[in-house]
């Protein structure tokens, strides 16, 4: 009994503290050593992050990357996903068993189907003000007129106040000035196939276009592991598990370490190299 009350009190205190100091500096790691090291420990929790799809066809990859980040940040709490109807028409509706395959149990998800861009922003802000949530994903289509610096600042502020991370998936849109803490560009990368030539775990090419802390213009190839709910670097992983070498898929890695040097980090080159084999 005393135990429960103490927990509850801690919760109350943390809530009060959250309210008084809007600048929370807690970060959550991605699990990928390279990304976490470059970002100084991970992404800002109480902030807005923009995740652009590299071309419309990369929307599933961008959405999955956002789900993965939300899973890292939410620690088992419920997640709200606000999605504009048109994205579903264009790219397909969310398929709940597929969410489970990425590690997000569908029971944890509440989906808001918004008719247009302004509704997406409105619902997203409303959700981001709800502190018990683990994360909020919002997915407008293209470049909504109302999505300007002021609108993103409102979203970022809501996230900062409630300590709920906000991920904005942008498909079919171009970067505009925004108050996001980080901006990513995502597309799928070739997976590491199994012996039977079956497609493997989902891999992403993640380019960090902008970051508040200043590191930007870097790219990584990461693989999402559902069982560990963690990203891992493809290059470092490959060095570790040498047991199943994949002919022609290795990128020559002169540094030998897990960190990609910025000059040769171009994921395009990496996948080109693979395809050549």
């Amino acid at each position: 009994m005393a135990n429960i009350d103490l927990e509850a009190l801690r919760y109350q205190v943390s809530r009060l503290e959250r309210g008084s100091s809007p600048i929370a500096v807690a970060r959550f790691g991605t699990g990928s050593q390279a990304i976490d090291a470059a970002l100084g420990g991970g992404l800002l929790r109480a902030a807005l992050h923009e995740i652009f799809a590299d071309g419309m066809a990369s929307e599933p990859a961008a959405a999955a990357f956002a789900i993965a980040l939300a899973l890292r940040a939410s620690q088992g709490r419920p997640i709200v996903w606000v999605r504009q109807d048109f994205v579903g028409l264009e790219m397909g509706e969310i398929y709940a068993p597929g969410l489970a395959e990425l590690g997000l149990s569908p029971e944890r998800l509440m989906l808001v189907r918004a008719r247009d861009g302004p509704s997406v922003l409105r619902a997203g802000e409303e959700a981001a003000r709800c502190p018990p949530l683990g994360a909020v994903l919002i997915e407008p289509w293209g470049n909504p007129k109302t999505l300007d610096l002021v609108a993103t600042r409102r979203l970022a502020l809501a996230a900062a106040r409630s300590n709920v991370p906000l991920f904005m998936v942008r498909a079919g849109g171009a970067p505009t000035p925004s108050a996001a803490a980080s901006r990513w560009r995502i597309r799928s990368a070739l997976s590491r196939p199994f012996e039977t030539e079956a497609p493997g775990h989902p891999c992403f090419v993640a380019d960090l276009l902008r970051d508040r802390a200043g590191v930007a213009g870097q790219g990584w190839i990461v693989e999402w592991n559902r069982d560990r709910l963690s990203f891992s670097d493809i290059a470092s992983d490959r060095a570790a598990t040498d047991s199943a070498p994949l002919p022609g898929r290795m990128v020559p890695d002169p540094a030998g370490g897990p960190h990609h040097a910025p000059d040769r980090a171009s994921p395009h080159l990496a996948s080109e190299g693979r395809r050549a084999g």
């Binding site: 429960i4 009350d5 927990e7 509850a8 009190l9 109350q12 066809a57 990369s58 929307e59 599933p60 990859a61 959405a63 999955a64 990357f65 790219m91 397909g92 509706e93 969310i94 398929y95 709940a96 068993p97 597929g98 969410l99 489970a100 395959e101 990425l102 569908p106 029971e107 998800l109 509440m110 989906l111 808001v112 189907r113 918004a114 008719r115 509704s119 409105r122 619902a123 409303e126 959700a127 709800c130 502190p131 018990p132 949530l133 597309r187 799928s188 990368a189 070739l190 997976s191 199994f194 030539e197 079956a198 497609p199 493997g200 775990h201 989902p202 090419v205 559902r226 069982d227 996948s271």
Partner: protein, 507 residues
Amino acid sequence: MRQIAQAPTWQAKDGAQDKPPLVIVEKQKGAMRLVTLSRVARRAGLMPGISLADARARIPDLWVEEIDHAADAALLDAIAEDCDRVTPIVMVDAPDGLLLDITGSEHLFSDEAKLRTGLSQRLRRAGMHVRTVIASAPDAARALARHGNVAIVPPGEEAAFVRSLPIAALNLPEKDRLAISRAGLKTMGALASRPTQLFSARFGEEMTLRLARLQGIAPSPLTPRRAAPMLWVERRFVEPIGRVEHVEAALSELAHEACTRLTELREGGRAFEATFHRADGAVRRILIETGRPIRDPAVVLRLFREKLDSLSDPIDPGFGFDMMRLALLQTEPLASIQSGLDGRALEADAIADLADRLATRFGPERVVRFIPENTHDPARAARAVPATFNPPATFNPMTSTVWPTPEEGEPPLRPLHMLNPPQPVSVGMAEIPDGPPRRFTWRRRQHDIVHAEGPERIAPEWWRAPGETGRDYYRIEDSEGRRFWLFRAGAYGGASPPAWYLHGVFA
């Protein structure tokens, strides 16, 4: 139980002085007959039931209109809506009557007589001829309004008051009525003083039941136009209010009052309806629903504000509202609020509140969560239900379906997005009859397949699609790393060549 019955008695209204008498006609058994007359026509000696030719023979100069049942019904409905300001329990007694349950409403008008005159005057001002009777039995009130000449029947004395009514008040089929009057029985009193077995043997149980209902002995079934609320609170304004802040203040008072009542009852509301009565008779209703019982006035008000904010046609106060009502259409037991130290319960409440707010603003069908379905058909494996939906009490987590747990080490076997319906793709030649294609074209783009797994044969349940052989699904990856879920319908060597479809997209 006190009921009030009104018969607005459709009466044709005379036009200006120089207009001829107005009669309303309807085609009955091949002849045009008069059904409703104006006062002038009645005074000229016409009566309902005679044929139009007869009437013309007596008074050549007649203004004739054909009856319009739809318009009559619409008018009666509009009057019923207006009577809603007296009580929320209003029944339409087609074709020309209304029945109001005024139990517990009379004190708002100080007594029954004042309520009756107030209501009659209001309708007379609108140009209606009404007869209004208050009685404790609905059928007695109904019959007295049509055939009697009393205004208020003291409780329990219905039997005495209906004695003088004619047999027609029973509303029997014409031949039964004729048979009874031929037997020399002209009034209810004559029927009531005889043993009922005589009548039930000759005219059936229905007739004696009607007689009992008329005397207030047997209960009458009532079907209100709208579901009767569990409880309601209302405000009447001497001076109609129109300013937004006044309306909000009144709504806030109502919400507090309703929530106090709910607390006393240990109940919480699931559906709240606010009714705004405009001084000119127009009525606007706003409904909010919640996913769990609530009785916090602040939450109720916030939901109403969301709803009012999102209306495509805002509420127009016109000349102001002279009455507002907050009715609870659905309530559920709700224990007293917990001490508030349990953080987890608070969090669940906060998320339920968020779902309610979003559902109120965007519509419940737009705020969903997923529940699993026990089926192999991938297109039906998940169902989206409103997030505010509560599983019924019979819900048993042991027998109901749960989400399948993915096997450790396996890559995702089901796509993140599903295309519904599946989109046809064109393929080159497949390598082997049971293999995946080498490349396919989707949305004018060619994808070269580098990795593939399959086939995974999924057949629909036989009772859904008899004769369908099933589909062969393949997980494939193209040269750019995009992952797709393709399937082939039909087999090689069949009547028609197999067709390929894209059913989903992986991350």
